[in-house]
Protein backbone atom coordinates (compact mmCIF):
# COMPACT_ATOMS: atom_id res chain seq x y z
CA UNK A 1 0.00 0.00 0.00
CA UNK A 2 1.36 3.36 -0.98
CA UNK A 3 1.60 5.87 1.85
CA UNK A 4 -0.41 9.10 1.54
CA UNK A 5 2.25 11.22 3.11
CA UNK A 6 5.92 10.46 3.12
CA UNK A 7 8.57 12.60 4.71
CA UNK A 8 12.22 12.02 3.90
CA UNK A 9 15.16 13.43 5.85
CA UNK A 10 13.46 16.71 6.71
CA UNK A 11 15.72 19.23 8.46
CA UNK A 12 15.13 22.73 9.69
CA UNK A 13 17.30 25.26 11.47
CA UNK A 14 16.71 28.78 12.67
CA UNK A 15 19.21 31.60 12.64
CA UNK A 16 19.43 34.00 15.49
CA UNK A 17 21.81 36.79 16.43
CA UNK A 18 24.60 35.93 18.80
CA UNK A 19 26.64 39.12 18.46
CA UNK A 20 27.03 42.05 16.09
CA UNK A 21 28.29 39.95 13.20
CA UNK A 22 27.88 36.47 14.53
CA UNK A 23 24.88 34.35 13.75
CA UNK A 24 23.87 31.31 15.69
CA UNK A 25 22.31 28.32 14.00
CA UNK A 26 19.83 26.31 15.99
CA UNK A 27 19.06 22.96 14.49
CA UNK A 28 15.40 22.33 15.30
CA UNK A 29 14.73 19.25 13.20
CA UNK A 30 17.32 16.70 12.10
CA UNK A 31 16.61 14.25 9.30
CA UNK A 32 13.05 13.36 10.16
CA UNK A 33 11.51 10.58 8.06
CA UNK A 34 8.18 8.87 8.37
CA UNK A 35 5.27 7.64 6.31
CA UNK A 36 1.52 7.69 6.91
CA UNK A 37 -0.87 5.40 5.10
CA UNK A 38 -4.45 6.27 4.14
CA UNK A 39 -6.85 6.11 7.08
CA UNK A 40 -3.99 5.95 9.57
CA UNK A 41 -3.16 8.19 12.47
CA UNK A 42 0.38 9.12 13.37
CA UNK A 43 0.90 10.55 16.84
CA UNK A 44 3.89 12.75 17.60
CA UNK A 45 4.94 13.18 21.21
CA UNK A 46 7.91 14.87 22.79
CA UNK A 47 8.93 17.44 25.37
CA UNK A 48 8.64 21.19 24.87
CA UNK A 49 11.21 22.44 22.41
CA UNK A 50 11.57 19.08 20.72
CA UNK A 51 10.33 20.50 17.43
CA UNK A 52 6.80 19.11 17.31
CA UNK A 53 5.11 22.37 16.37
CA UNK A 54 7.82 23.23 13.84
CA UNK A 55 7.22 19.91 12.16
CA UNK A 56 3.49 20.62 12.05
CA UNK A 57 4.15 24.00 10.45
CA UNK A 58 6.45 22.47 7.86
CA UNK A 59 3.88 19.86 6.93
CA UNK A 60 1.09 22.39 6.59
CA UNK A 61 3.29 24.63 4.47
CA UNK A 62 3.41 27.57 6.88
CA UNK A 63 7.21 27.36 6.86
CA UNK A 64 9.89 26.00 4.59
CA UNK A 65 12.36 23.25 5.36
CA UNK A 66 16.10 23.55 4.78
CA UNK A 67 16.45 20.18 3.12
CA UNK A 68 14.49 17.00 2.69
CA UNK A 69 11.35 16.06 0.82
CA UNK A 70 7.68 15.81 1.57
CA UNK A 71 5.84 13.46 -0.75
CA UNK A 72 2.07 13.33 -1.10
CA UNK A 73 0.69 10.31 -2.94
CA UNK A 74 4.10 9.69 -4.46
CA UNK A 75 4.43 13.22 -5.83
CA UNK A 76 6.99 15.57 -4.35
CA UNK A 77 5.35 18.67 -2.93
CA UNK A 78 8.34 20.06 -1.09
CA UNK A 79 11.91 19.53 -2.15
CA UNK A 80 14.77 21.18 -0.25
CA UNK A 81 12.65 24.11 0.78
CA UNK A 82 10.91 24.67 -2.54
CA UNK A 83 7.22 24.18 -2.14
CA UNK A 84 4.59 23.46 -4.73
CA UNK A 85 1.85 25.90 -4.02
CA UNK A 86 -0.82 23.56 -2.77
CA UNK A 87 -2.30 24.06 0.63
CA UNK A 88 -5.38 22.01 -0.04
CA UNK A 89 -4.18 18.49 0.63
CA UNK A 90 -2.63 18.97 4.02
CA UNK A 91 -4.71 21.10 6.40
CA UNK A 92 -4.07 22.12 9.96
CA UNK A 93 -6.20 22.68 13.06
CA UNK A 94 -4.78 24.91 15.76
CA UNK A 95 -4.77 24.69 19.51
CA UNK A 96 -7.28 27.32 20.57
CA UNK A 97 -10.37 27.57 18.36
CA UNK A 98 -11.51 30.78 20.07
CA UNK A 99 -8.35 32.55 18.95
CA UNK A 100 -7.66 30.95 15.59
CA UNK A 101 -10.87 32.08 13.87
CA UNK A 102 -11.44 35.58 12.54
CA UNK A 103 -14.01 37.24 14.82
CA UNK A 104 -15.01 39.77 12.18
CA UNK A 105 -16.51 37.55 9.50
CA UNK A 106 -19.26 34.96 9.52
CA UNK A 107 -18.57 31.24 9.40
CA UNK A 108 -20.00 31.05 5.90
CA UNK A 109 -17.71 33.79 4.57
CA UNK A 110 -14.73 32.15 6.20
CA UNK A 111 -15.44 28.82 4.53
CA UNK A 112 -16.28 30.59 1.27
CA UNK A 113 -12.87 32.27 1.26
CA UNK A 114 -11.13 28.90 1.48
CA UNK A 115 -13.00 27.72 -1.62
CA UNK A 116 -12.68 30.98 -3.51
CA UNK A 117 -8.90 31.08 -3.31
CA UNK A 118 -8.24 27.38 -3.83
CA UNK A 119 -10.82 26.07 -6.26
CA UNK A 120 -12.54 27.16 -9.43
CA UNK A 121 -16.09 26.51 -8.23
CA UNK A 122 -18.96 28.84 -9.01
CA UNK A 123 -20.78 30.54 -6.18
CA UNK A 124 -23.69 28.11 -6.35
CA UNK A 125 -21.38 25.14 -6.14
CA UNK A 126 -19.49 26.77 -3.29
CA UNK A 127 -22.69 27.31 -1.35
CA UNK A 128 -23.66 23.70 -1.78
CA UNK A 129 -20.21 22.53 -0.72
CA UNK A 130 -20.30 24.65 2.43
CA UNK A 131 -23.67 23.21 3.41
CA UNK A 132 -22.44 19.66 2.91
CA UNK A 133 -19.30 20.29 4.94
CA UNK A 134 -21.22 21.92 7.79
CA UNK A 135 -23.53 18.93 8.05
CA UNK A 136 -20.55 16.60 7.87
CA UNK A 137 -19.08 18.02 11.06
CA UNK A 138 -22.43 18.08 12.80
CA UNK A 139 -23.42 21.73 12.38
CA UNK A 140 -26.58 23.13 10.83
CA UNK A 141 -26.75 25.07 7.58
CA UNK A 142 -28.16 28.02 9.56
CA UNK A 143 -24.75 28.39 11.15
CA UNK A 144 -23.65 29.93 7.85
CA UNK A 145 -24.68 33.37 9.09
CA UNK A 146 -23.19 33.02 12.58
CA UNK A 147 -20.13 34.81 13.91
CA UNK A 148 -17.51 32.89 15.91
CA UNK A 149 -18.51 34.50 19.23
CA UNK A 150 -21.97 32.93 18.96
CA UNK A 151 -20.58 29.42 19.30
CA UNK A 152 -19.37 27.49 22.33
CA UNK A 153 -15.83 26.13 22.46
CA UNK A 154 -16.75 22.66 21.27
CA UNK A 155 -18.76 23.99 18.34
CA UNK A 156 -15.90 26.30 17.38
CA UNK A 157 -13.61 23.31 17.17
CA UNK A 158 -16.14 21.82 14.77
CA UNK A 159 -16.01 25.01 12.70
CA UNK A 160 -12.22 24.74 12.63
CA UNK A 161 -12.59 21.17 11.49
CA UNK A 162 -15.02 22.25 8.78
CA UNK A 163 -12.50 24.81 7.57
CA UNK A 164 -9.90 22.06 7.37
CA UNK A 165 -12.18 19.55 5.64
CA UNK A 166 -13.83 21.81 3.09
CA UNK A 167 -11.01 21.39 0.59
CA UNK A 168 -11.17 17.59 0.81
CA UNK A 169 -7.69 17.16 2.20
CA UNK A 170 -5.89 13.86 2.49
CA UNK A 171 -4.06 14.68 5.70
CA UNK A 172 -5.18 16.79 8.66
CA UNK A 173 -2.59 18.00 11.17
CA UNK A 174 -3.95 18.45 14.71
CA UNK A 175 -1.51 20.60 16.67
CA UNK A 176 -2.70 20.25 20.28
CA UNK A 177 -6.20 20.72 18.92
CA UNK A 178 -7.80 18.52 21.54
CA UNK A 179 -6.01 19.53 24.72
CA UNK A 180 -7.79 22.80 25.42
CA UNK A 181 -11.25 21.24 25.28
CA UNK A 182 -13.43 20.10 28.15
CA UNK A 183 -13.51 16.33 28.67
CA UNK A 184 -17.00 15.67 27.35
CA UNK A 185 -16.52 18.02 24.40
CA UNK A 186 -13.21 16.32 23.72
CA UNK A 187 -14.92 12.94 23.68
CA UNK A 188 -17.43 14.26 21.15
CA UNK A 189 -14.69 15.70 18.95
CA UNK A 190 -12.66 12.50 19.08
CA UNK A 191 -15.75 10.53 18.10
CA UNK A 192 -16.32 12.87 15.17
CA UNK A 193 -12.70 12.56 14.02
CA UNK A 194 -12.76 8.79 14.23
CA UNK A 195 -16.05 8.65 12.35
CA UNK A 196 -14.69 10.88 9.58
CA UNK A 197 -11.60 8.73 9.34
CA UNK A 198 -13.72 5.61 8.98
CA UNK A 199 -15.97 7.14 6.35
CA UNK A 200 -13.52 8.92 4.10
CA UNK A 201 -10.12 7.43 4.86
CA UNK A 202 -8.58 10.63 6.19
CA UNK A 203 -5.14 10.48 7.73
CA UNK A 204 -4.41 12.41 10.91
CA UNK A 205 -1.19 13.65 12.38
CA UNK A 206 -1.86 14.10 16.05
CA UNK A 207 0.44 16.23 18.16
CA UNK A 208 -0.49 16.10 21.81
CA UNK A 209 0.59 15.64 25.40
CA UNK A 210 -2.38 13.52 26.19
CA UNK A 211 -1.04 9.98 26.33
CA UNK A 212 -4.32 8.20 26.81
CA UNK A 213 -5.64 9.86 23.67
CA UNK A 214 -2.51 8.81 21.79
CA UNK A 215 -3.06 5.26 22.91
CA UNK A 216 -6.67 5.32 21.83
CA UNK A 217 -6.48 7.12 18.51
CA UNK A 218 -3.16 6.46 16.86
CA UNK A 219 -1.76 3.58 14.84
CA UNK A 220 1.83 4.77 14.73
CA UNK A 221 3.87 6.74 17.20
CA UNK A 222 6.83 9.03 16.64
CA UNK A 223 8.83 10.21 19.62
CA UNK A 224 10.86 13.38 19.12
CA UNK A 225 13.62 14.65 21.32
CA UNK A 226 15.71 17.70 20.47
CA UNK A 227 14.70 17.48 16.84
CA UNK A 228 15.63 13.85 16.39
CA UNK A 229 13.45 10.81 15.97
CA UNK A 230 14.07 8.71 19.04
CA UNK A 231 11.53 6.04 18.43
CA UNK A 232 9.14 5.30 15.60
CA UNK A 233 6.80 2.39 15.21
CA UNK A 234 3.54 0.77 16.14
CA UNK A 235 1.81 2.57 19.04
CA UNK A 236 0.83 -0.55 20.93
CA UNK A 237 4.30 -2.06 20.81
CA UNK A 238 6.00 1.18 21.89
CA UNK A 239 3.60 1.55 24.81
CA UNK A 240 4.27 -2.05 25.78
CA UNK A 241 8.04 -1.86 25.39
CA UNK A 242 9.55 1.61 25.20
CA UNK A 243 13.18 1.15 24.17
CA UNK A 244 14.83 4.52 24.60
CA UNK A 245 15.16 6.40 27.87
CA UNK A 246 13.36 9.48 26.54
CA UNK A 247 10.29 7.46 25.70
CA UNK A 248 10.32 5.69 29.01
CA UNK A 249 10.41 9.01 30.82
CA UNK A 250 7.63 10.47 28.70
CA UNK A 251 5.37 7.49 29.16
CA UNK A 252 5.94 7.28 32.88
CA UNK A 253 4.75 10.77 33.72
Amino acid sequence: MQPVLKVQALSKSFRSRAGIFKRKHIQVLREISFAVGPGETLAIIGETGSGKSTLAKLLAGADHADCGQILLDGKTIEDDGVRQNQCRHIRMIFQDPTRSLNPGITIGDMLDDCLKYNTGLTSLQRNKKIKITLSRVGLLSEHYEYYPHMFSGGQLQRVALARALILDPKVVVLDEALSSLDPSVRAQTVNLLLQLQKESGLSFILITHHLSLVKHMSDQLLVLSRGKVVEYGNTASIFAQPKSKVTQRLLNV
Partner: protein
Protein backbone atom coordinates in the same frame (compact mmCIF):
# COMPACT_ATOMS: atom_id res chain seq x y z
CA UNK B 1 -13.31 20.92 62.78
CA UNK B 2 -14.97 22.38 59.72
CA UNK B 3 -12.71 24.92 58.15
CA UNK B 4 -15.09 26.14 55.53
CA UNK B 5 -18.81 25.46 55.55
CA UNK B 6 -20.99 26.85 52.79
CA UNK B 7 -24.68 26.19 52.46
CA UNK B 8 -26.89 27.18 49.52
CA UNK B 9 -24.48 29.54 47.86
CA UNK B 10 -26.22 31.34 45.02
CA UNK B 11 -24.52 33.75 42.66
CA UNK B 12 -26.63 35.86 40.36
CA UNK B 13 -25.89 38.31 37.61
CA UNK B 14 -28.31 41.12 36.83
CA UNK B 15 -28.61 41.83 33.14
CA UNK B 16 -31.05 43.73 30.95
CA UNK B 17 -32.97 40.54 30.16
CA UNK B 18 -33.40 39.59 33.78
CA UNK B 19 -31.48 37.81 36.44
CA UNK B 20 -29.16 34.98 35.45
CA UNK B 21 -28.44 32.45 38.13
CA UNK B 22 -24.89 31.37 37.40
CA UNK B 23 -24.44 29.28 40.54
CA UNK B 24 -27.49 27.63 42.04
CA UNK B 25 -27.57 26.51 45.69
CA UNK B 26 -24.17 24.94 46.07
CA UNK B 27 -23.10 23.30 49.31
CA UNK B 28 -19.50 22.81 50.21
CA UNK B 29 -17.72 21.92 53.42
CA UNK B 30 -14.06 21.43 53.95
CA UNK B 31 -12.15 20.07 56.93
CA UNK B 32 -8.65 21.01 57.94
CA UNK B 33 -5.94 19.26 55.94
CA UNK B 34 -8.25 17.97 53.23
CA UNK B 35 -7.89 18.28 49.51
CA UNK B 36 -11.16 18.90 47.71
CA UNK B 37 -11.63 18.96 44.00
CA UNK B 38 -14.19 21.06 42.20
CA UNK B 39 -14.77 19.53 38.80
CA UNK B 40 -16.84 20.86 35.94
CA UNK B 41 -16.65 22.10 32.40
CA UNK B 42 -15.90 25.65 31.43
CA UNK B 43 -18.83 27.90 32.21
CA UNK B 44 -20.07 25.73 35.05
CA UNK B 45 -19.27 28.35 37.66
CA UNK B 46 -16.22 26.82 39.31
CA UNK B 47 -14.16 29.96 39.24
CA UNK B 48 -17.15 32.02 40.41
CA UNK B 49 -17.44 29.93 43.56
CA UNK B 50 -13.74 30.37 44.27
CA UNK B 51 -13.99 34.11 43.75
CA UNK B 52 -17.08 34.32 45.94
CA UNK B 53 -15.26 32.58 48.77
CA UNK B 54 -12.33 34.98 48.57
CA UNK B 55 -14.71 37.87 47.98
CA UNK B 56 -13.23 39.41 44.85
CA UNK B 57 -16.35 39.42 42.68
CA UNK B 58 -17.31 42.87 41.49
CA UNK B 59 -20.57 44.57 42.35
CA UNK B 60 -22.46 43.33 39.31
CA UNK B 61 -22.72 39.93 40.90
CA UNK B 62 -25.02 39.29 43.86
CA UNK B 63 -23.83 36.60 46.21
CA UNK B 64 -26.27 35.11 48.69
CA UNK B 65 -25.77 32.18 51.00
CA UNK B 66 -27.61 30.68 53.94
CA UNK B 67 -24.30 30.42 55.63
CA UNK B 68 -20.69 30.81 54.70
CA UNK B 69 -18.73 29.94 57.77
CA UNK B 70 -14.98 30.20 58.03
CA UNK B 71 -13.88 28.48 61.23
CA UNK B 72 -17.22 29.32 62.81
CA UNK B 73 -17.33 32.95 61.68
CA UNK B 74 -19.96 33.88 59.11
CA UNK B 75 -18.15 35.73 56.36
CA UNK B 76 -21.36 37.10 54.84
CA UNK B 77 -22.19 39.11 57.95
CA UNK B 78 -18.82 40.68 58.49
CA UNK B 79 -18.00 44.14 57.26
CA UNK B 80 -15.93 44.25 54.12
CA UNK B 81 -12.87 45.34 56.04
CA UNK B 82 -13.01 42.59 58.64
CA UNK B 83 -13.71 40.03 55.98
CA UNK B 84 -10.72 41.14 53.98
CA UNK B 85 -8.50 40.79 57.02
CA UNK B 86 -9.60 37.23 57.67
CA UNK B 87 -9.33 36.27 54.03
CA UNK B 88 -5.88 37.76 53.58
CA UNK B 89 -4.62 36.03 56.71
CA UNK B 90 -6.00 32.56 56.13
CA UNK B 91 -6.69 32.09 52.44
CA UNK B 92 -4.65 32.33 49.30
CA UNK B 93 -5.55 31.86 45.70
CA UNK B 94 -3.61 30.80 42.63
CA UNK B 95 -5.07 32.08 39.41
CA UNK B 96 -5.50 30.39 36.08
CA UNK B 97 -2.93 31.93 33.78
CA UNK B 98 0.15 32.70 35.84
CA UNK B 99 2.02 34.78 33.30
CA UNK B 100 -1.01 37.04 32.95
CA UNK B 101 -1.83 37.42 36.61
CA UNK B 102 1.65 38.51 37.62
CA UNK B 103 2.52 42.18 37.35
CA UNK B 104 4.40 42.56 34.05
CA UNK B 105 6.14 45.77 35.13
CA UNK B 106 7.73 44.53 38.35
CA UNK B 107 10.52 42.06 38.92
CA UNK B 108 9.76 38.75 40.59
CA UNK B 109 11.71 39.74 43.72
CA UNK B 110 9.56 42.82 44.29
CA UNK B 111 6.37 40.88 43.77
CA UNK B 112 7.27 38.07 46.13
CA UNK B 113 8.64 40.51 48.72
CA UNK B 114 5.39 42.45 48.59
CA UNK B 115 3.41 39.42 49.62
CA UNK B 116 5.51 38.86 52.77
CA UNK B 117 3.57 39.98 55.85
CA UNK B 118 5.19 42.55 58.14
CA UNK B 119 4.91 40.27 61.14
CA UNK B 120 7.33 37.70 59.82
CA UNK B 121 10.27 40.09 60.15
CA UNK B 122 11.98 39.47 63.46
CA UNK B 123 15.13 41.57 63.28
CA UNK B 124 15.33 45.34 63.59
CA UNK B 125 14.44 47.96 61.06
CA UNK B 126 17.94 48.36 59.64
CA UNK B 127 18.44 44.73 58.75
CA UNK B 128 15.01 44.55 57.13
CA UNK B 129 16.39 44.53 53.61
CA UNK B 130 18.73 41.61 54.03
CA UNK B 131 16.09 39.71 55.91
CA UNK B 132 13.64 40.29 53.09
CA UNK B 133 16.13 38.91 50.60
CA UNK B 134 16.65 35.84 52.74
CA UNK B 135 12.92 35.24 53.01
CA UNK B 136 12.31 35.57 49.26
CA UNK B 137 15.17 33.19 48.58
CA UNK B 138 13.79 30.65 51.03
CA UNK B 139 10.33 30.89 49.50
CA UNK B 140 11.63 30.38 45.98
CA UNK B 141 13.65 27.38 47.13
CA UNK B 142 10.60 25.96 48.84
CA UNK B 143 8.61 25.82 45.62
CA UNK B 144 11.45 24.17 43.76
CA UNK B 145 13.13 27.04 41.93
CA UNK B 146 16.87 26.42 42.02
CA UNK B 147 18.25 29.48 40.25
CA UNK B 148 16.75 31.96 42.68
CA UNK B 149 19.11 34.81 41.74
CA UNK B 150 18.25 34.63 38.07
CA UNK B 151 14.52 34.22 38.61
CA UNK B 152 14.23 36.93 41.26
CA UNK B 153 15.84 39.50 39.00
CA UNK B 154 13.72 38.81 35.94
CA UNK B 155 10.35 40.01 34.73
CA UNK B 156 7.42 37.59 34.29
CA UNK B 157 7.62 37.58 30.50
CA UNK B 158 11.18 36.26 30.64
CA UNK B 159 10.15 33.14 32.50
CA UNK B 160 8.41 30.03 31.32
CA UNK B 161 4.81 29.34 32.29
CA UNK B 162 5.83 26.62 34.73
CA UNK B 163 8.23 28.86 36.63
CA UNK B 164 5.60 31.63 36.73
CA UNK B 165 3.16 29.19 38.27
CA UNK B 166 5.74 28.25 40.90
CA UNK B 167 6.28 31.94 41.69
CA UNK B 168 2.52 32.34 42.12
CA UNK B 169 2.50 29.44 44.56
CA UNK B 170 5.45 30.97 46.43
CA UNK B 171 3.50 34.21 46.80
CA UNK B 172 0.43 32.31 47.93
CA UNK B 173 2.20 30.37 50.67
CA UNK B 174 4.16 33.37 51.96
CA UNK B 175 1.53 33.99 54.63
CA UNK B 176 1.12 30.34 55.58
CA UNK B 177 -2.55 30.23 54.66
CA UNK B 178 -4.85 27.55 56.01
CA UNK B 179 -6.69 27.23 52.72
CA UNK B 180 -5.18 27.36 49.28
CA UNK B 181 -7.58 27.78 46.37
CA UNK B 182 -5.99 26.65 43.14
CA UNK B 183 -7.99 27.74 40.10
CA UNK B 184 -6.92 25.43 37.25
CA UNK B 185 -3.25 25.64 38.18
CA UNK B 186 -2.08 23.33 35.42
CA UNK B 187 -4.16 24.04 32.32
CA UNK B 188 -1.46 26.03 30.57
CA UNK B 189 1.34 23.62 31.41
CA UNK B 190 2.64 20.46 29.82
CA UNK B 191 2.89 17.07 31.39
CA UNK B 192 6.29 17.14 33.10
CA UNK B 193 5.80 20.58 34.70
CA UNK B 194 2.26 19.59 35.54
CA UNK B 195 3.52 16.63 37.53
CA UNK B 196 5.97 18.92 39.37
CA UNK B 197 3.22 21.35 40.38
CA UNK B 198 1.01 18.53 41.61
CA UNK B 199 3.88 17.09 43.63
CA UNK B 200 4.48 20.51 45.16
CA UNK B 201 0.84 21.01 46.14
CA UNK B 202 0.70 17.49 47.51
CA UNK B 203 3.74 18.04 49.71
CA UNK B 204 2.31 21.34 50.97
CA UNK B 205 -0.83 19.51 51.95
CA UNK B 206 1.00 16.72 53.71
CA UNK B 207 3.79 18.64 55.42
CA UNK B 208 1.97 21.81 56.41
CA UNK B 209 -1.52 20.37 56.74
CA UNK B 210 -2.76 22.98 54.31
CA UNK B 211 -6.26 22.47 52.93
CA UNK B 212 -6.51 22.77 49.19
CA UNK B 213 -9.52 23.47 47.04
CA UNK B 214 -8.52 22.35 43.58
CA UNK B 215 -10.50 23.58 40.62
CA UNK B 216 -9.97 21.63 37.46
CA UNK B 217 -11.59 20.12 34.45
CA UNK B 218 -9.16 17.25 34.17
CA UNK B 219 -10.68 14.45 36.20
CA UNK B 220 -7.97 11.87 36.01
CA UNK B 221 -5.21 14.00 37.49
CA UNK B 222 -6.86 14.84 40.76
CA UNK B 223 -8.55 11.57 41.53
CA UNK B 224 -5.36 10.09 42.94
CA UNK B 225 -4.88 12.49 45.78
CA UNK B 226 -8.03 14.44 46.52
CA UNK B 227 -10.16 13.35 49.45
CA UNK B 228 -13.47 14.58 48.16
CA UNK B 229 -14.87 15.66 44.85
CA UNK B 230 -17.66 18.03 43.88
CA UNK B 231 -19.01 17.80 40.36
CA UNK B 232 -20.68 20.90 38.92
CA UNK B 233 -22.79 21.22 35.83
CA UNK B 234 -24.01 24.65 34.69
CA UNK B 235 -23.88 26.02 38.22
CA UNK B 236 -25.68 23.14 39.86
CA UNK B 237 -23.91 20.72 42.14
CA UNK B 238 -24.76 17.38 40.63
CA UNK B 239 -22.73 15.10 42.84
CA UNK B 240 -20.41 15.39 45.80
CA UNK B 241 -18.69 12.95 48.04
CA UNK B 242 -15.51 10.97 48.71
CA UNK B 243 -13.45 10.82 45.52
CA UNK B 244 -13.25 7.05 45.21
CA UNK B 245 -17.00 6.70 45.64
CA UNK B 246 -17.89 9.43 43.18
CA UNK B 247 -15.43 8.17 40.66
CA UNK B 248 -16.07 4.46 40.78
CA UNK B 249 -19.75 4.42 41.73
CA UNK B 250 -21.23 7.54 40.18
CA UNK B 251 -24.91 8.07 40.90
CA UNK B 252 -25.54 10.97 38.55
CA UNK B 253 -25.69 10.47 34.76
CA UNK B 254 -23.40 13.45 34.21
CA UNK B 255 -20.65 12.11 36.45
CA UNK B 256 -20.96 8.78 34.74
CA UNK B 257 -20.54 10.44 31.35
CA UNK B 258 -17.47 12.33 32.62
CA UNK B 259 -15.82 9.16 33.89
CA UNK B 260 -16.69 7.22 30.77
CA UNK B 261 -15.21 9.89 28.51
CA UNK B 262 -11.74 9.12 29.88
CA UNK B 263 -10.01 6.56 27.69
CA UNK B 264 -8.11 5.03 30.60
CA UNK B 265 -11.17 4.25 32.63
CA UNK B 266 -13.69 3.29 29.99
CA UNK B 267 -13.74 -0.44 30.29
CA UNK B 268 -13.83 -2.71 27.30
CA UNK B 269 -13.25 0.08 24.81
CA UNK B 270 -11.48 -1.20 21.73
CA UNK B 271 -8.87 0.75 19.81
CA UNK B 272 -10.43 3.62 17.83
CA UNK B 273 -13.91 2.88 19.07
CA UNK B 274 -16.11 5.92 19.82
CA UNK B 275 -16.31 7.15 23.42
CA UNK B 276 -19.47 7.44 25.40
CA UNK B 277 -20.48 11.09 25.19
CA UNK B 278 -23.62 13.00 26.05
CA UNK B 279 -25.37 14.51 23.06
CA UNK B 280 -25.58 18.26 22.56
CA UNK B 281 -23.57 21.02 24.12
CA UNK B 282 -23.55 22.96 27.36
CA UNK B 283 -26.33 25.57 27.26
CA UNK B 284 -25.25 29.20 27.46
CA UNK B 285 -26.12 31.03 30.67
CA UNK B 286 -28.86 33.07 28.97
CA UNK B 287 -30.79 29.97 27.93
CA UNK B 288 -30.62 27.66 30.89
CA UNK B 289 -33.28 24.95 30.99
CA UNK B 290 -35.61 24.91 34.00
CA UNK B 291 -35.40 22.17 36.56
CA UNK B 292 -32.42 19.88 36.30
CA UNK B 293 -30.09 21.71 33.96
CA UNK B 294 -28.77 18.48 32.48
CA UNK B 295 -32.35 17.60 31.47
CA UNK B 296 -32.25 18.09 27.67
CA UNK B 297 -29.01 16.15 27.35
CA UNK B 298 -29.68 13.45 29.91
CA UNK B 299 -30.27 9.91 28.58
CA UNK B 300 -32.52 9.07 31.53
CA UNK B 301 -34.59 12.25 31.56
CA UNK B 302 -38.27 11.91 32.30
CA UNK B 303 -41.20 14.22 32.90
CA UNK B 304 -40.24 14.76 36.51
CA UNK B 305 -36.94 16.36 35.56
CA UNK B 306 -38.48 19.81 34.94
CA UNK B 307 -38.55 20.18 38.72
CA UNK B 308 -35.16 20.95 40.24
CA UNK B 309 -34.06 17.81 42.08
CA UNK B 310 -33.19 18.17 45.73
CA UNK B 311 -29.88 16.99 47.08
CA UNK B 312 -30.06 13.56 48.61
CA UNK B 313 -27.33 12.31 50.83
CA UNK B 314 -26.34 8.83 51.85
CA UNK B 315 -23.06 7.95 53.58
CA UNK B 316 -21.55 11.33 52.80
CA UNK B 317 -22.29 10.92 49.11
CA UNK B 318 -24.63 13.66 47.92
CA UNK B 319 -26.37 13.68 44.56
CA UNK B 320 -29.06 15.77 42.92
CA UNK B 321 -31.02 13.54 40.57
CA UNK B 322 -34.53 12.12 40.43
CA UNK B 323 -33.34 8.86 38.97
CA UNK B 324 -29.90 8.06 40.39
CA UNK B 325 -27.94 5.18 38.93
CA UNK B 326 -27.96 2.68 41.75
CA UNK B 327 -26.09 -0.49 41.13
CA UNK B 328 -28.17 -3.67 41.12
CA UNK B 329 -26.37 -4.94 44.17
CA UNK B 330 -27.51 -2.01 46.26
CA UNK B 331 -31.07 -2.37 45.06
CA UNK B 332 -31.15 -5.95 46.30
CA UNK B 333 -29.97 -4.86 49.72
CA UNK B 334 -32.62 -2.21 49.99
CA UNK B 335 -35.51 -4.51 49.10
Amino acid sequence: MQLLDIRNLTIELRTEDGVIRAVDKVNLSLKEGEVHALVGESGSGKSLIAKAIVGVLNSRWTVTADRMHWQGVDLMRLSAEKRRKIVSKDMAMIYQEPSRSLDPTAKIFEQVAESLPEKTFKKGFFSRNSERKEKVKALLHKVGIREHVKVASSYPHELSEGVCQKVMIAMAIARNPKLLIADEPTTALESTTRAQIFRLLKSLNQLKNMSILMISHELEEITHWSHAMHVLYCGQMVEAGPTQKVFYEPLHPYTQALVKSLPDYAQGLAHKEPFYALKGTIPPLQHLPIGCRLGPRCPQAQKQCVVTPLQNKSHGHAYACHFPLFKDKQKCNQS
